[in-house]
């Protein structure tokens, strides 16, 4: 029986002048898992938000079990059984998991107060039933990215979600976490839930989806069963330009690299302890070299990012840039001249969301645009346009960053950090949220900068990304170096994974 149907969904964003959805249709039957795939800007997120009632479509309708759902109403969508799991968490940070799950239908005591015990029990039962890895009593602010995702799914279920819509659920998860998430989704599917997976990671979803809808430029290009679907064919359907390079973006970029140049290290880390009781790590990156460090979540990659970027000063060990201690270099000079830094936490660290794309792009070039240029808005617009061009960022200079899609935010961040060859580039998950074509562009750009003399430290949780683009590879396990060596075919994905999981110490 048809559970969810959408027809003729059209949505035009006036402020960005984009027609995000242009007559999209979709249907979901009971127990079905459907993937909606497409490049950045194909209209996937808009479609998800329309279905969830977060965006009011211009025309077209959504029906659940044949009954029309009032557009633009989260409450109505929820009442109809649609549960939405957004790309970036929308849980209340200051509340516990149980309180978040209870919101809107809080169990009461004395009519006025929240019954914490009942809320706890309700959440605990849900956690038990579907095998979530969650403690109902822990504060959301203390959860990891993966736990947040689980909590979001649990919340959608707690609100009576029969149809789960997940927007890029694996975008910030490591491979093992993604695998666990997919296990959970298959359990939910066998419990009768219908699932809509919005993603651009085609290979990932083909394993668990029953059917695939391909979106391009706001239109449905194809609908096929996942069983026996040809990945190459689907990805060529997704692509806007038919002739863009798309055979493994990363290996292409690596082929363009020249290998490491000799020379004194531009970035050096000595005796740095990433976890209490762990053996300290050492690493160095020479100009022209790309070193990729990879680890599963919780094994010190985030810590390393904090120290390498200078946001945290180590108590033990040191971080040197061009031979000088990182903490002794004025922050202003470091960022404008010496170090490009793309943080993994794009929203909170990388960008200023309420500011315009232009101001984000030019944030490191304050000296070029002094106060007396305040009239020179046009000059700044021009400079911003120039900076945006290499990554084909689709944003108007004066558009606020918050209104950009996840992929465009990443392009904005990279456009700023990769605008010139700096001595050191610290890039954490630089390809996150990007579609295949842009991944290739970004990887090439990183390679070019290395060729011009930048020392690149890549911090990535994806083995594929680490092996695809680096001269040397290093793996961390529990904050210690589990593998380090040249990337010349000897570390395979399997051997690297073994090191990352502690199978070989």
């Amino acid at each position: 029986m048809e559970l969810l149907s959408a027809s003729g969904i059209r949505k035009y964003y006036r402020d960005t002048l984009t027609l995000a959805n242009d007559g999209v249709f979709l249907s979901l039957i009971e127990g079905e898992t459907r993937a909606v795939v497409g490049e950045n800007g194909a209209g996937k997120s808009t479609l998800a938000r329309v279905l969830a009632g977060l965006v009011h479509q211009d025309s077209g309708e959504v029906r659940v079990r044949g009954r029309r759902v009032r557009p633009g109403s989260v409450r109505e969508a929820e009442a109809a059984g649609i549960g939405f799991v957004p790309q970036s968490s929308l849980l209340a940070e200051g509340l516990t998991v149980a309180e978040n799950l209870a919101l809107g239908r809080e169990p009461r005591s004395l009519g006025l107060f929240v019954s914490r015990r009942k809320a706890y029990v309700e959440t605990a039962m849900l956690v038990e039933r579907f095998g979530f890895r969650l403690d109902p009593d822990s504060l959301v602010s203390s959860l990891t990215a993966a736990e947040r995702r689980h909590a979001e799914i649990a919340r959608a279920l707690a609100r009576g979600g029969e149809i789960l819509i997940l927007d890029e659920p694996t975008s910030i998860l490591s491979e093992s976490e993604s695998a666990k998430l997919f296990e959970l989704l298959s359990r939910l599917s066998s419990a009768g839930k219908a699932i809509l997976l919005i993603t651009h990671r085609l290979s990932e979803v083909l394993k668990i989806a029953d059917s695939v809808t391909v979106l391009r430029d706001g239109r449905v290009i194809a609908e096929v069963p996942a069983d026996g679907a040809d990945e190459a064919e689907l990805s060529s359907l997704m692509a806007r330009g038919a002739t863009r390079p798309r055979t493994s973006a990363l290996s292409l970029a690596a082929a363009a690299g020249m290998g490491a140049c000799a020379g004194p290290p531009a970035l050096e880390i000595r005796g740095l302890r990433l976890a209490a009781g762990a053996r300290p790590i050492n690493l160095s990156v020479s100009p022209g070299e790309v070193l990729a460090v990879t680890a599963l979540a919780g094994n010190g990659l985030g810590r390393l990012e904090d120290f390498a970027s200078g946001l945290r000063t180590p108590d033990e060990g040191e971080v040197l840039v061009g031979g000088a201690s990182l903490s002794s270099i004025p922050r202003d000079r470091l960022r404008s001249e010496l170090m490009g830094y793309a943080p993994a936490d794009r929203e909170r660290r990388g960008l200023c969301l309420p500011a315009t794309a232009r101001d984000n792009l030019l944030a490191l070039r304050r000296r070029e645009f002094r106060a007396r240029d305040w009239i020179g808005g046009r000059r700044r617009d021009e400079a911003a346009r120039e900076a945006a061009a290499p990554l084909s960022l689709e944003a108007k200079p004066r558009q606020v960053a918050a209104s950009l899609s996840g992929g465009n935010r990443q392009r904005l961040l990279l456009a700023r950090e990769l605008d010139r060859p700096r001595a050191v580039l610290v890039l954490a998950e630089p390809l996150q949220g990007l579609d295949l074509a842009t991944q290739a562009e970004a990887a090439l750009l990183i390679r070019e900068l290395a060729a011009k003399g930048s020392a690149v430290l890549l911090l990535v949780s994806s083995i594929e990304e680490a092996l695809g683009s680096a001269d040397r590879v290093m793996a961390l396990y529990r904050g210690e170096t589990a593998f380090e060596g040249a990337n010349e075919g000897s570390p395979t994905a399997a051997s690297l994974l073994a090191a990352m999981t502690g199978a070989v110490a």
Partner: protein, 285 residues
């Protein structure tokens, strides 16, 4: 002798802290909802005046106190309506209300009583312990309401941001407006208590207590317990300065003036320290 001194200091501390605590918990409601209750001071002032006027007219202390709370609520309706409804800058709207409050009061006082000065209201005068008990129980009820009730939980979600609230099906604007009203009523009642303590309205009698309450919200880490502690600290400072003033004598007078400035100086220092700590926290996180 010393024991007596300490007891009277303790009582004096409680008496100074109680109105601060109630106003500060009102401010906490606004802070928790993601807004800022700049107008605590103004609400306290109109609360004090209205309590005296209504107490004087009706001869009932209870009616005076209730009217004081209501007047505070009305003033905060202006601020909340402008900030939430018309999307005005909450800081500017609150400042405007604080400037407006003494103006309204003196115009009303001139029109009704032909004076802009002291307005005696013997009927409003209440015992010290009665006032402390009323304020303490109102504070406790408000703290409990904010931290444990369904309404309080949703209010805190509204404070996490519009998008997060919307995802939880909560209309953040409505909760923010309600929080402003709570802040207004609480500080209006606190102001009324000040007037009840001396059985009169005296122009400028709040003397910055609304601002101090606002500081206590942040100094107390935006938690009810912490806010109450901060208010006790400020209460102690007020009590100490009163005590030294009480000694009288020529030599003590300049010292007393200095001591009178202490609560305000601590307020200023606390604000600076808190701002600095916040900046460090943001830079680190």
């Amino acid at each position: 002798m010393i024991l007596e001194r300490l007891t009277s200091l303790g009582i004096s501390t409680l008496a100074s802290a109680a109105p601060l605590a109630l106003a500060a918990l009102g401010g906490l409601a606004a802070a928790a909802s993601g807004s800022l209750s700049i107008a605590l001071e103004g609400s306290m002032l109109v609360g004090a005046f209205t309590a005296a006027a209504v107490g004087h007219a009706t001869g009932s202390a209870a009616a005076g106190m209730a009217a004081g709370a209501f007047a505070g609520l009305l003033l905060s309706l202006l601020v909340g309506g402008a900030a939430v409804g018309l999307k005005a800058d909450v800081f500017v709207a609150g400042l405007a209300a604080n400037i407006l409050a003494p103006g309204i009061v003196s115009v009303a006082s001139q029109a009704a009583y032909g004076t802009k000065g002291v307005l005696a209201a013997e009927a409003l005068r209440s015992g010290q312990w009665e006032i402390i008990a009323l304020l303490a129980s109102a504070s406790l009820a408000l703290a409990l309401f904010l931290s444990r009730s369904v309404f309080g939980l949703r209010l805190r979600v509204a404070g996490e941001g519009d998008e997060i609230a919307a995802a939880a099906g909560i209309r953040s604007g409505a909760y923010r407006l309600a929080a402003h009203l709570i802040a207004g009523a609480a500080s209006g009642l606190a102001g009324a208590a000040l007037a009840a303590g001396i059985g009169a309205y005296v122009p400028g009698m709040t003397s910055g207590r609304g601002w101090i309450a606002l500081v206590a919200v942040f100094l107390g880490g935006r938690r009810p317990g912490g806010v109450a502690l901060a208010c006790l600290l400020f209460g102690l400072l007020f009590a100490l300065s009163n005590l030294v003033q009480g000694f009288g004598g020529q030599g003590a007078s300049s010292g007393a003036e200095l001591l009178q400035a202490v609560p305000y100086a601590v307020t200023a220092l606390a604000l600076v320290a808190w701002k600095g700590a916040e900046r460090r926290r943001k830079a680190g996180g």
